[in-house]
Amino acid sequence: MYNDIIIDNFSHPEFVGDLESADHQFEIGNPVCGDRIQMQVSLDGDSILDSRFRAWGCATSVAAANVFCRSIIGKSFAEVSARQTAEISAMLGELEPSQQHCVNILNELHRELSLAVSLEEG
């Protein structure tokens, strides 16, 4: 069974697509289940201006990518980077054991975004 967050974000993912000019792009994947997500992000100073994704995978991982985009657009990079694991886990709602790997996907999206922006700044 899928919770409403997963169903809504998987059924109508509004952030699917490509940005015309992305400041950062990164890809994550789960080698076990084969899920792949490509993420693009554009910045406006310290804020995240826009984000789009492409995903191949189960419903929960597609939903996780959409949730991630919505959660970062308009936020400062510092604000997104400060998120703790518990806060990130809660973003997907209650998951079945078979869907828990999508929390890892969401964590990884946060990590990769931090890494990408940090490398740029460094």
Binding site: F10, P13, H101
Partner: protein
């Protein structure tokens, strides 16, 4: 069953809706409270209900009623057949032949007998069409082979196995054959005597009957250990006070199947051809997994791998956005493993084909309009998933 409520149901191999006749027949039986084993006058009528149910099932299988034993369903029948035969050989555990694409109630029971009781096993592998070969079966026979347990039709692909030829080969070597016919009974004609099977499992809810009741056909009851010892019901082979409501359900389901299954089969095969034509002419790239022709596969089942998508994701979109229920054989399991269909994997499909597979199964309540709407929705959602992944055709 009100057909309005079945517009989107394409998972008949998981379970069928209960037929109106079956549902109506079961309702008054709940008031027949008397224990059929008691000597009082109320019980006489209840014993007649059981006898009629046994007759109707026997009629569906071309069997004699004394060879029909009621169970709680297909899994119990499979467990009983395998353990019941092998328990006769506990002092000299020998060899079992089965296939790698059986239902879990067969595979897990065989595994138990191997790991806990000292039997050995050969798993026959299906070819890309989903069939095992009689020659492979013959080659697998050992001097101490004590049982062959092989499904009649596969639940995921509908592929029909050469049971009659296998029984012939087995009979020459005096090897008993158990057939899991749960997906076959009620869809095609069965004649246990012509087939030459020793044991055959079936389940009512696969042919418009209720859940919780099935049967094991046993050719020779001395060849198998009883399942439940106790009060002596079911000819002392499976004791326990009978469930008259369920027995009535399977009785009427068997009677309806005997009368209508040729019509149902013809109807389903037309729908299958319609669906295949619509899909083949659609813009999506797909492969039908396993045999699809009439003689080699069930008429109500199609297993389809769609390039570039995950079957699990497609199934959810079909249900949430269009109300269509389908089945997938593969899914995420946890962070470290995934569950790939053991049937499609055994047939030699690639991992991508297995992950992109869906099973569509329909039945007597499905009609041509539903098939058209289903294919339209499928094409829409496959294209949407390809768009999400960025691999939509330009």
């Amino acid at each position: 069953m009100d057909q309005q409520h079945l517009q989107g149901y394409f998972d008949y191999n998981a379970t069928t809706p209960i037929s109106k006749g079956v549902a109506l027949s079961m309702q008054p039986i709940i008031n027949l409270f008397a224990n059929p084993s008691s000597p009082n006058r109320y019980s006489v009528n209840n014993r007649a209900v059981i006898s009629q149910a046994r007759e109707n099932l026997a009629g569906l299988l071309g069997a004699s009623s004394e060879n029909i034993f009621f169970t709680s369903g297909g899994s119990e029948a499979n467990n009983w057949a395998i353990k019941g035969v092998l328990f006769k050989h506990l002092s000299h555990p020998g060899h079992i032949i089965t296939t790698s694409m059986e239902h879990a109630s067969v595979l897990d029971t065989v595994k138990y007998c191997v790991e806990r009781l000292g039997f050995s096993v050969t798993y026959l592998q299906p070819n890309i069409d989903g069939h095992i070969s009689v020659a492979d079966f013959e080659s697998a026979i050992q001097a101490n082979t004590q049982l062959a347990t092989i499904m009649f039709a596969n639940n995921e692909t509908g592929a029909i196995q050469p049971i009659e030829q296998i029984c012939k080969v087995a009979a020459e070597k005096a090897i008993p054959v158990h057939v899991d016919a749960v997906q076959f009974v009620g869809k095609r004609l069965v004649d246990v005597q012509q087939l030459g099977v020793d044991y055959l499992s079936l389940s009512a809810h696969k042919f418009y009957g209720p859940k919780g009741v099935g049967s094991l056909y046993i050719k020779d009851r001395d060849s198998i250990e009883p399942l439940i010892h106790g009060g002596g019901q079911e000819f002392s082979m499976r004791s326990g006070t009978e469930n008259l409501v369920a027995m009535t359900g399977i009785s009427i389901a068997a009677d309806e199947a005997k009368k209508d299954l040729v019509f149902w089969d013809r109807h389903c095969f037309k729908l299958k051809q319609q669906m295949m034509t619509l899909l083949e002419n659609s813009p999506i790239a797909l492969t039908f997994n396993g045999a699809t022709n009439y003689a080699s596969a069930l008429s109500n089942t199609l297993n389809i791998s769609i390039n570039g998508i995950r079957g699990e994701a497609l199934a959810l979109r079909m249900e949430m956005l269009h109300g269509f229920i389908i089945s997938v054989g593969s899914a995420c399991s946890n962070n470290k493993t995934k569950q790939l269909s053991h049937v499609l994997t055994a047939m030699g499909l690639t991992e991508e084909q297995v992950l992109g597979a869906i099973r569509v199964s329909f039945g007597c309540f499905t009609d041509e309009q539903q098939i058209s709407r289903f294919v339209d929705a499928l094409v829409t959602e496959v294209q949407q998933l390809l768009r999400i992944s960025g691999s939509e055709p330009s």
